[in-house]
């Protein structure tokens, strides 16, 4: 029992299981959306934090997941669960096709290419009226349901999303601590050394790109059922930036840190900034810059650093006292 309580995943799971009992009603949307965005951020954390490859087009993969679910459920009457699976499949396949050419580039160019991909997705969805509804998008998407059981209240959705997220965190943890995880970490710091260890760098980059797009597809599918609609403006570059920012703030190598950061940023963006309407983009941009300038290693490191600072201070004070006595 004591061992179990020391397990971080389990403690977090327990916390999440009981939190609906104490949480004020108005924070449920934040937790639900936070969980959905966290799934995408988790994929980004694998891609960016572990494998060191940037993507500013992940909003498009979320969008692909959302649109696949929306089209299949509303126009072809697929059951949600099947549409969910299809969403993961379609976003992975598109990531595979698109990843082959653009992963040949690095750094700024990869950022641009993925940004361009996001722009293509946006233009395509917003300008295509048949089937996907142009700028208006698709409405009337049913709630998520498994074998007839429908997740329609916030509490039900809370448990659904966080269960899926927990499963993905564990999956990601396993992967990070495996042969493949080591290969990704090797690629992120030193591609050349990694390749001389027998790691096929191009292949691994493509794999992690596809995997992170699959995470984004899951998030997109859940988002579609949560909002019950999809619109092109929901999947623009600001969402991609949001997800990358969550990974930076959460700390590049910390999965739960990324989840925490995503929830906080969701709260900030959807609860707080949205009150300022037109100014929200400006304030958000300023916050983004302040974070980058003052805590580029993420807020996780800020916590660590202040702890270190306190330890140093206390140590000094202690030495000072003992010298005097």
């Amino acid at each position: 029992m004591r061992y179990l309580l020391r397990n971080t995943n389990l403690r977090i799971a327990l916390f999440l299981a009981v939190i609906p009992l104490f949480l004020p009603e108005n924070l449920f949307p934040v937790l639900c959306l936070g969980a959905i965005y966290s799934i995408a951020a988790l994929g980004m954390s694998l891609l960016l934090g572990y494998a060191g490859q940037i993507s500013l087009g992940h909003a498009a993969f979320i969008g692909i997941g959302a649109y696949t679910t929306a089209i299949l459920t509303t126009q072809f009457n697929w059951p949600v669960l099947a549409a969910f699976a299809a969403a993961i499949f379609v976003s992975s396949v598109i990531a595979y096709i698109i990843g082959k050419p653009i992963l040949k580039t690095k750094g700024f160019f990869l950022a641009l290419a993925t940004l361009g991909f996001g722009e293509i997705f946006f233009v395509f969805t917003s300008r295509t009226d048949p089937v996907i509804g142009g700028l208006v998008g698709i409405g009337g998407i049913p709630y998520f349901s498994i074998a007839g059981y429908e997740f329609s209240s916030y509490v039900q959705m809370h448990y659904l999303y966080w269960t899926i997220l927990l499963g993905l965190v564990i999956y990601s943890q396993n992967m990070v601590n495996s042969r493949s995880g080591r290969a990704f970490r090797a690629i992120s710091t030193d591609e050349l050394a990694a390749s001389t260890m027998g790691i096929d760098v191009a292949k691994y980059k493509l794999r992690i790109f596809v995997l992170s797009a699959a995470y984004a597809g899951i998030a997109g599918s859940l988002l579609a059922t949560y909002l019950s609609m999809t619109q092109p403006y929901g999947f623009r570059v600001d969402l991609s930036i949001f997800i990358v920012l969550a990974v930076i703030v959460g700390g590049m190598g910390s999965l739960w840190g990324v989840v925490a950061a995503t929830v906080v940023l969701t709260w900030l963006k959807d609860e707080q900034l949205s009150q300022y309407q037109e100014y929200s983009a400006l304030i958000y941009g300023i916050i983004l810059l302040l974070i980058l300038i003052f805590v580029p290693q993420g807020l996780g490191s800020l916590g660590q650093r202040s702890f270190q600072w306190m330890k140093d201070r206390l140590g000094k004070a202690y030495r000072y006292r003992s010298n005097r006595s």
């Binding site: 999956y171 990601s172 396993n174 992967m175 601590n177 495996s178 042969r179 493949s180 995880g181 080591r182 290969a183 970490r185 090797a186 710091t189 030193d190 050349l192 050394a193 990694a194 390749s195 001389t196 260890m197 027998g198 790691i199 096929d200 760098v201 691994y204 794999r207 992690i208 995997l211 190598g253």
Partner: protein
């Protein structure tokens, strides 16, 4: 029996000739040293053999197979491992993880399966860990396994790099200045380790500046200067070769003219 052969290998960088028609072969289970002044082309040679740089001309054979211009990961998979002149450990991994990464080619679990902690995945991981630990033990670094790799002193980081290369169970191992930055005592210990590695059946290609070490452990020495092989032979022959003394050790008698 020769395990490895280079024929007429040349490399030019925008007008500068770094290697000029270099040919040699390496006998199985020997230590072959390549020496020469800084910039003579030794590191370039390693870069080409390990597939990091393409040669301008010439070919490389490993056993009977030609490996010229193969990508680095394929060359590693064939049994050729290397270390780097400037240490290139993976900085955000522990010592053990670095060595486990070196054994990458020997395990199978793919990216998607590795997220599920199935029994065979766990077993593989355990084997990898044990093998890496065994290598570290043999290098005398067993107790440093869980340290962040770059927190070790310079000399030990070199040993970690060698352990990492060993983890791929190579037939041919290329060491690029393994003794650089080591104290004389560490250098001695290293010489012994390199001898052990050879005796365990690995052929070693060694670039090194520490002449004491080279003369002590090499079976055969090749001297490069200006991208060309100027001498080849056993340590005692090389030490007497006037061309080598001229190019590398410097001539004492003509100091007067400065």
């Amino acid at each position: 029996m020769s395990i490895f052969r280079i024929e007429q290998l040349s490399k030019r960088f925008s007008g500068l000739t770094a290697l000029n028609a270099v040919s040699f072969s390496v006998e199985n289970q020997t230590i072959q040293a390549i020496i020469g002044p800084n910039g003579a082309g030794k590191t370039t040679l390693f870069q080409i053999i390990s597939g990091v740089l393409p040669p301008t001309a010439g070919s490389i054979y490993y056993g009977e197979e030609e490996i010229t211009r193969k990508p680095p990961h394929k060359i590693c998979a064939m049994g050729i491992a290397r270390t780097f002149q400037m240490i290139r450990l993976f900085p955000d991994m522990t010592v053990l993880e670095n060595v486990m990464t070196g054994g990458h080619i020997h395990w199978k679990t793919g990216v998607f399966m590795s997220g599920f902690r199935l029994p065979n995945v766990r077993g593989e991981e355990r084997d990898a860990r044990q093998k890496a630990q065994a290598i570290l033990d043999s290098m005398g670094l067993g107790d440093k396994a869980n340290y962040p790799a770059t927190s070790l002193p310079y000399g030990q980081q070199r040993l970690v790099e060698i352990s990492r290369a060993l983890a791929s169970e190579p037939k041919l191992m290329m060491l690029d200045e393994p003794a650089a930055g080591m104290t004389p005592q560490e250098g001695e210990a290293l010489a012994e380790k390199i001898g052990d590695i050879r005796d365990s059946g690995v052929t070693i290609l060694l670039v090194e500046h520490d002449m004491g070490l080279v003369m002590e452990i090499s079976d055969q020495i090749i001297v490069l200067n200006y991208g060309q092989v100027i001498a080849e032979g056993s340590p005692s022959i090389i030490q007497q070769d006037p061309k080598v003394i001229e190019a590398y050790l410097g001539t004492k008698d003509n100091n007067a003219q400065y």
